[in-house]
Each structure stands twice: as structure tokens, then as C-alpha cells.
Subunit: 467 residues, 2 copies
């Protein structure tokens, strides 16, 4: 057992640096040493051959466009398929764009139907058609069915590597049957027990097979109420079930109870990771995964829409201020203080809406909790609003020596935070009731309300009481 197998981030980093160094030496041809070039090239290729496909994927993702393609050319073509499965969508696109149809088909032919289904949306149409023709009937059927489900459904994530047995045989027979396999599929922690029609009757965990005596019947040892899924189930629900019940694999059955496929923990982990990344990116208005070395034009398109939406809300807030230009002309301190009112409302509202959206996602918050949550959030907002309002009113008094202005500032901060807390509960719950996604754009919406609302409340109060 050698040190390189401490597969930590650092050792990966080392490998990346070695590859970059070799690539650099290979590309910066030193005319004094013509013989060296091919040596560097060979060393680089040997290095790449030793690496796990996931590690090569990592290296490809960490390299700028030109270096990435240079390394990609050096990878043995029979490994192309498994590496394409590991890279992110954005990087996969750049790699496929660099391959001709012949190479793509060669790479695809090394993959299973469920893996092909993951790749297919990124492939040129004529290549997919050609691929279909090279598959046998069962594989083609599987590929078609996997492609027929939404990206977020269990059907699109399952594989077909099930090991099935009958329930009327002894464990001895099962053990002998397994020994006939060249290798068992990854993540085989249970065998699926089916009847003659292929209906799922239960599962036999390998753990049980190993500790039970060989002459017992499968029917007596198997567990007959396993967790199972439908291909139409939402992937998120399946991921929560895997997490909750600590599953490694689970059967997928069709509406008639027939065994159809298999879901494994690695797909669920990838899903959880991708979902959480999407959440972070979406919160900043990045619509899809953007490869860090993507072209300028792609980045512009990716960020365009969000800026447009935010400009619209900013324009509305600006028009609210425009309504009170006469007041600001009379008391210019209003212009300096108004962003504080808007800002604290936005922060407070984002805290509330984040809590509620998260509670809805985990199922803890129901529409029926609305009143209780509004009561609680407004109480929290009142305490924070009063405290920070008094502090800020004090600071404003030191700056402007205008007691009435300070009182208006305090009142506006408090009112805007109350508005923020009510909307922070109402917006996601209303969306939940209307069947929408409570998370989508929640931050933009609450900020738009607390900006415009904050300006309106502060400038409105000031116009009534100060002028």
C-alpha cells in the first residue's frame, strides 16, 4: 500500500501540477534538446494512464481551454467514454466539440445504456441516431426509456445492473450462481428477488447471504418489504430516502410492480451535490453551471437575464424615490439615510425567507403554519428593528442634530423590517399553495419589495411629518 492512495485534495493537486509541468515541457519545445520532447510526451501519457477517470476529469476541468484539449488528445480513446461521464456539463461540451463523429461513437460504444442516456443530450443528433443503430434491441429499449424521463426523475438516474434471483432456491444455489459472474456490478449490496413474471418480491441483502446458513431458502431470508421507487418519482425525494434510510442501492419498479431498474447511492450523491451547487449559483443569478474557463460570450449570456431582472426592480425603486424628489430637495439628509432603511429591510427579509424556504424544502413548514410563523417572525423583526432603529436614530442625531428626522428613521426601519418579515413568510407559503417552487428568485423578490417599500415608507413618513 503506497502513499499515493491517500486520495486527498492535496495529492490530487500534486497530480494536476505534475501534468501541467509535463505539458508545459512538451509544448515549450526546446530546440537544443529535440529528443526530450517525445520523452515528456511519453511520461505524460503514462501518468494519465495511471489515473482514475475521475482524476483525469478533475484535471481537465482545472485546465484552461487550450491545455485542456491538449491533454484530452493524449487520453487513450477507449477511456474517453468513462471520462466524459465524470466531467461537468460545461466541460463535456468543450470536449465533445473537439471530437469528430467517429471518435464520439467509439467512446459511446464503451458505455452502458444508462450511461449513454446521461451523455446523449450533449451529443450531436446524427451521432445519437447512428448510436441507436449500433445497439442491440434490449440496450436500445433501455436507452429510449431512460431518455423518456425528466432529468429530475428516478427513471433518468437508474441503471440496469440488477442481479436477480428466485425465492424458491437455497442460498447455496445463489452463491453458486454468483460465482459464475465475472464481476458483480458496483454497489451490489442486495440481490433483487423476482418471480416468473419479473415482479419484485423482495430483496436479499448480501450481508444476510453471508451470515445465513447455505441450506436456507431465499424466501425465508429475504426482506419482503424493501424500500423501492417508481421511475416517475422525483429524484430529490429518492435522495432524501437514501439519506434517511442509509441505502446503498434500491430497486425501481414500474406501475405493475415489475422490476425495472436500480438506483444507487453514487447517483444520489452526485444529485445532492449538483442540487446544492445549483442552489448557490442560482442565488447569485448564475443560471447554469458556468465553466470557470468558459468563453466571455458564454459568461455574458449566462449572467444577462439576472442583471436585467435586477435592473427592472432597481428602476422601480428609483421611480419610488422620484416621487419624493421635492422632499429630498428640501431635506437632503433623506437621500443619505434612505439606503440604510432599504438595506436593513432586505437583510432581515432574506433571513426570514431563507428559513421558510428551507423549512418547506425539508417538509417542516406547511402552509397551515402561516399564522404562527408570521407571529414569530414579526416579533423577531420588532425586537431587532427597535434595537437597531434606536442605535441608528442615535447616530443620525449626532450627524444631523434633527430629533424629528431620527424618530422618522427609527419608525421607517421598524416598519420596513415588519414588512420584510411578513413578506418573507407570505411569499414562499403563497407559492407553495399555488404549486410553484418557493425557492425560485425568492431573494430578488423580497429585496425588490424591501427596497421600494423602504424608500416609500421612509420618504413618505418624512414628507408627512418633517416638511
Amino acid at each position: 500500500m503506497s502513499e499515493p492512495n491517500r486520495k486527498s485534495q492535496e495529492s490530487l493537486q500534486d497530480r494536476l501540477e505534475q501534468v501541467v509541468l509535463l505539458l508545459d515541457r512538451h509544448q515549450n519545445r526546446d530546440p537544443a534538446e529535440p529528443g526530450q520532447q517525445s520523452r515528456h510526451l511519453e511520461e505524460l501519457q503514462r501518468k494519465l494512464e495511471e489515473l482514475h477517470p475521475a482524476d483525469i476529469a478533475y484535471i481537465l476541468e482545472s485546465l484552461p481551454h487550450d491545455e485542456r484539449l491538449a491533454v484530452w488528445q493524449l487520453v487513450k480513446s477507449e477511456r474517453d467514454g468513462e471520462i466524459l461521464l465524470e466531467v461537468s456539463d460545461a466541460v463535456r461540451e468543450t470536449l465533445i466539440a473537439d471530437m469528430d463523429n467517429h471518435e464520439i461513437i467509439a467512446a459511446a460504444n464503451t458505455l452502458d445504456a444508462d450511461e449513454l442516456a446521461d451523455l446523449a443530450p450533449d451529443l450531436p443528433r446524427d451521432v445519437v441516431r447512428e448510436l441507436m443503430d449500433t445497439l442491440d434491441a434490449q440496450q436500445r429499449e433501455r436507452l429510449k426509456s431512460a431518455l423518456s424521463y425528466d432529468e429530475d426523475q428516478v427513471g433518468a438516474m437508474m441503471d440496469f445492473d440488477m442481479v436477480t434471483i428466485r425465492d424458491d432456491v437455497t442460498l447455496e444455489v445463489v452463491t453458486r450462481y454468483l460465482r459464475r459472474f465475472e464481476a458483480l456490478p458496483d454497489h451490489t449490496d442486495k440481490l433483487f428477488v423476482v418471480d416468473n413474471e419479473g415482479l419484485l418480491k423482495g430483496v436479499l441483502p448480501i450481508k444476510k447471504l453471508l451470515v445465513s446458513s447455505a441450506d436456507e431458502l431465499v424466501a425465508d431470508v429475504m426482506s419482503d418489504d424493501p424500500v423501492f421507487f417508481s421511475p416517475l418519482d422525483a429524484a430529490g425525494d429518492a435522495a432524501q430516502a437514501f439519506e434517511r434510510y442509509d441505502l446503498v442501492s434500491a430497486p425501481v419498479v414500474d406501475s405493475h410492480g415489475k422490476l425495472f431498474g436500480r438506483l444507487t447511492i453514487d447517483e444520489m450523491v452526485d444529485y445532492i451535490r449538483e442540487e446544492s451547487e445549483a442552489e448557490v449559483l442560482n442565488a447569485a443569478g448564475l443560471r447554469e453551471e458556468e465553466d470557470i474557463f468558459a468563453s466571455v460570450w458564454k459568461s455574458v449570456r449566462n449572467r444577462w437575464a439576472w442583471l436585467a431582472i435586477n435592473l427592472c426592480t432597481a428602476l422601480i425603486a428609483s421611480r419610488v424615490i422620484g416621487l419624493f424628489e421635492a422632499s429630498i430637495e428640501q431635506l437632503v439628509a433623506l437621500a443619505a439615510l434612505m439606503p440604510i432603511v432599504a438595506g436593513i429591510g432586505g437583510n432581515s427579509g432574506n433571513q426570514t425567507i431563507t428559513m421558510i424556504v428551507r423549512g418547506i424544502a425539508t417538509g417542516q413548514v406547511q402552509a397551515a403554519h402561516g399564522r404562527r410563523l408570521i407571529r414569530k417572525e414579526t416579533t423577531v423583526a420588532s425586537i431587532n428593528g427597535l434595537f437597531w432603529g434606536v442605535v441608528l436614530a442615535g447616530v443620525a442625531f449626532l450627524l444631523y442634530e434633527n430629533a424629528a428626522l431620527s424618530v422618522v428613521l427609527l419608525a421607517a426601519m421598524l416598519l420596513n423590517m415588519l414588512l420584510a418579515s411578513v413578506m418573507g413568510v407570505v411569499i414562499p407559503l403563497a407559492r407553495l399553495r399555488l404549486g410553484g417552487d418557493p425557492a425560485l428568485g425568492s431573494s430578488v423578490l423580497i429585496t425588490a419589495i424591501t427596497d421600494s417599500g423602504g424608500f416609500f415608507i421612509f420618504l413618505g413618513l418624512a414628507t408627512i411629518f418633517l416638511l
Copy 2:
């Protein structure tokens, strides 16, 4: 195989509703039917007994404080331990606060050392001391060692449920040895091969054990360069390795190469989920997981600090505006337009910094990439800034019919977006170089800069060119 095992979110929701209904009937004693009460109670207890501990945890988390404790009282005490492991930290606190020391110790006695270690930080000190005394020497040693690691280290997440074998025996012997177990530990997908001193020599995947012939030697079948971890490794790195190499379990060895513990995929999944939740919460300034039904006072404390930080940055921005009060008095349109400049800078900067922080987290972005990334981000910002600047300048011209003002607005938007893009690259890379966490508070920092910067640029340009 019965329908209830479709373990989707909906069926969980059904169970929650059934429990709430029974609890309600039990608590709202109908004097007309005194006999009914105990029937409801019994039905509720039976219902709870049928449920998986993770499902009971889910129900407890979804109930407001009083109902939660009512259900908690009904749970059989021998299940308390496993349920406490499943609930979130915030809810665990409320449950433990409701138990006396005797109950806590009874619950803890049903757990393994590694599970106890997860619970220990939430238990009263004297209870932990008392618990230590009830453990045997090996368990006490394990508990102490697990407690000696950081929450984010592999040592705090590993368990001790390893099945170990020698390499000089045949698979036949291994199979007979396994059959002596009552049950194998969960997530046993490989056996750990050790020598006389307990040094890890390799792993024997169960998959291989099943397909290989019984008279082969372990040494010939085992894989001798398995992925392994040190108890000091960062949990995040281990989680990435589990994801990358599709692991189900992996050995943890000490610095001498001695087998020390075992890491399993379920712990890694929990870690990934918790990390992603923490990320979302932190982005909104929620410092720790806040139970949605937490007391008002706890919520106020949780949100306090963030509001204070944001008020400080808002106050600075306000003082920047204060510098230009004379200009605003002369041209009050400036007050209405300035939030647009600040807002678009903030959005644009947050997009850049989110990309970079994420790239650093996945290892794709190195400090050395700084110059290339600044070049790209400023180009993207220039294109977006020019386009949206022209649009907004047009709108402003329609509103104010002041061509010079529109040009200043365009220039200010462009400059603030350039500032945002440069700082969005520089801030996280500088933190990376200084050894800090690039994600921490990155959004506050960039927004503070683009707010104050935006006001300064716009009002400054206006003062120079318009007045």
C-alpha cells in the same frame, strides 16, 4: 410487498398528518367519550413503533415545541438513542432539555462509541462523565479518541465497525468466519485485511469474495492499494474522495499505517447535505441551524450579528452619500438614480465572486490564475455594463431629458461593474493566499464595496461634470 414502502416525501407527509391527527384527538379530550382517549393514545404509540427512527425524527422536527415533546414522551425509551442521532442539532437540544439524567444515560447506553461521540457535545457535562464510567475500556478509549478530533475531521466521523481478516487464509475460511457473525455491520462492502500488528495490508471487496473460487488466498484476491484516510484528514476532502471514487466504505489508518476505524458513505452524505445547508444559511447571515419553531429570543440572537455588520456597511455608504449632499441638493435626480448604479454593481460582483469561490472550493481555481480571470471578468463586465448602461441611460433621458446626466449614469454603471468584477476576483484569491476561507462573508464584502463605490463613482462624476 406493500404500498407503504414507496418511501417518498408524500407518504412521509401522510404519516406526519396521521400522527398530528391522533395527537390532536388525544389532547382535545372529548368529555362525551372518555374511553376514546386511551384508544387514540394506544393507536399513536403503535403508529410510532412501526416507524423508522429517521421518520420519527422527521415528525419531531416538523412539530411545534409542545406537540414535539408530547410525541417524544410517547416514544419507547429504548429507541430514544437512535432517534436523538437522527434529529438536527437544534431539535436535539430541545429534546435533551426535556429528559432527566437517568433517561439520557439509558438512551446513551444503547449506542456505540462513535455514535456517543456525535451526541456528547449536546449532553450535560456530568452526564458525559457518568457515561464514561459505564463504558468498558475499549469503548471508553474509542469515545475519547473520537471526541479528540475536530467536528470537521475524519476522526470525528469514523465508526469502529470494521470486519478484519488475515491475508494468508483462503476465501473458504473467510466465508466460514463471516457465517459466525450474527449480522454484519451496515455498509460492509469490503473486509479489511490486516497483519499481526494490525497494519492495513489491503481490502477484500465482498463483490470479489462472492465471485472468486473458495480455495484462493485472500492475498491473491485482495486489492492492495485501497483508498484510505487519516483521522486528521478534512471531512470535506474525504467526502470528495467518496464521491469521486464511488466508495461505500473506506479504512481509516493512523500515522503508523495501523487500521484505526472506518468511514462510510452515509456519514459522507450527511456531511455533504449539512455543508450545503450551512452554505445557504450563511449566505443569508443565519449563523447556525435555527429550528423553525425555535423561541423568538433564540432567533433574535441568531440573526443579530449579521444585521449589525450590514448596518455598519450601510452607514459607510450613507456617509459616502453625505459627502455629496450639496450636489444632490442641486440635482435631485442623482438621489433617484444612485441606487441603480450601486445595485447593478452588487449583482454583478456577486456573480463573479460566487463563480470564483466555487472554483476555489472544487480546486479548479488557483491563486496563479488571478490575472487571466481578472481579464475575463472585466471583459464580461464591460459588455454587460455597456449594454445595460446604454439601456438605462436611455430610460434616464426619457425621464429627465438631461443628456449629460445620462452619459454620467452610463459611465458610472460601467465603472462600478468593472470595480465589482476586479474585486470579485481579488477578494477570494487574496483570502486564499492568506490562508482564510474564501467563502466567508464574501457577499457582504463585495456588496459593501459596490454600494459605497457605486455612490462615490456616480456622485463624484456628477459633481465634476454636471455641476
